[in-house]
């Protein structure tokens, strides 16, 4: 890909992101009158995150050693740390450290 194509991707991604964040400020009336939108709005984001967790580790090599152990134990670490401390920084760094160490030392 050349630089211009990538700049175009970046610019368009920025516009999509901003439009989504700005939507409620422009579509206030629409949101207020559509309970089904609020229903989805309360639930869909959490479900999307669960799906993205699985999507991001689905090709971690579960059929051969170490059977995806770095990814799975990394996720458990983040879960435990976040439920315990509820500090995004600690949770993410802790998970990455566990994942990195296991990936390095497991066969």
């Amino acid at each position: 890909m050349n630089i211009n194509d990538i700049l175009l991707v970046i610019l368009c991604m920025g516009m999509v992101t901003w439009a989504l964040r700005a939507a409620p400020f422009f579509l206030m009336e629409f949101f207020k009158h559509h309970k089904v939108i609020q229903h989805l709005g309360n639930r869909l984001p959490g479900a999307v995150m669960v799906i993205l967790v699985v999507y991001s580790v689905k090709d971690a090599g579960y059929t051969h050693a170490p059977y995806g152990a770095p990814s799975l134990l990394g996720i458990v670490t983040v879960l435990v740390l976040h439920l315990w401390k509820r500090n995004m920084f600690i949770s993410i760094v802790g998970g990455v450290v566990v994942y990195g160490l296991l990936g390095h030392f497991l066969p």
Binding site: I10, M28, I75, H82, M88
Partner: protein, 222 residues
């Protein structure tokens, strides 16, 4: 000055997560063969962690613009609902408001919602700081990636970790166990029935399940 000081103090631990995540983003960006100086530019213009990581994977697989924008839309869809909490609270000043709307990321949203005494000037500074940390992190990561020989690919796990954190925040800490159950069903069906289109399939199934239970939900009343 007082606002600036408290903006620096209040959200620091959460904001530093942005530096860590930014470094891994910048690093992977360079490892994809992209020029290092584009990483901070992307973080400046797009400013959406998860979507930026996903776009990197898609770019590496030579995906088209429409596919990347589709993924950006789906991954950032949750942001539509963030603004709802701040409809009347953002400043009247046009430019400042436009910027704050742009900066309403997951982290900014969770930090601002947790503020005991909301102050729009302070909120503006928090968003500005978070954005700067994200750009600085990307720059550091990109420069490191371009200059040191170590394999830092494991940093990509920061993305999975971010998703886990957000899943915990949005499902467990909000006690949305039905949502969690539906997501698990959607994932299982997605992985077994549509393995090659797992992401889209699971998202569609989850949306469908939620629409099916809508008549029995609390939002349906009043």
């Amino acid at each position: 000055m007082n606002n600036l000081q408290s903006a620096f103090k209040a959200p620091t631990p959460a904001l530093f997560g942005y530096i860590a995540l930014g470094i891994s983003f910048g690093f992977l960006f360079v490892k994809m063969g992209l020029p290092w100086w584009l990483a901070p530019i992307m973080s400046l213009v797009v400013y959406a962690g998860a979507a930026q990581f996903i776009a990197l994977t898609l770019l590496a697989n030579h995906a088209g613009l429409l596919q990347i924008l589709g993924a950006t839309f789906l991954v950032n869809l949750r942001h539509i609902f963030y603004g709802l909490s701040f409809l009347g609270k953002f400043p009247k000043n046009g430019l400042q408001k436009l910027y704050m709307v742009f900066g309403l990321t997951d982290e900014a949203y969770s930090i601002l919602s947790a503020q005991k005494h909301y102050n729009s000037q302070k909120a503006f500074l928090i968003i500005l700081l978070a954005h700067s940390y994200w750009i600085i992190g990307s720059l550091i990561g990109a420069v490191l990636g371009a200059s040191i020989p170590f394999d830092l690919h494991f940093l990509a796990f920061a993305l999975t970790a971010l998703f886990v954190v957000l899943a915990v925040e949005l499902c467990l800490l909000k006690k949305r166990y039905t949502t969690l159950g539906m997501a698990v069903i959607a994932v299982i069906v997605g992985l077994t029935v549509f393995p090659s289109q797992m992401l889209i399939a699971s998202l569609a199934i989850a949306t469908l399940l939620m629409l099916l239970v809508y008549p029995w939900s609390k939002d349906h009343e009043h």
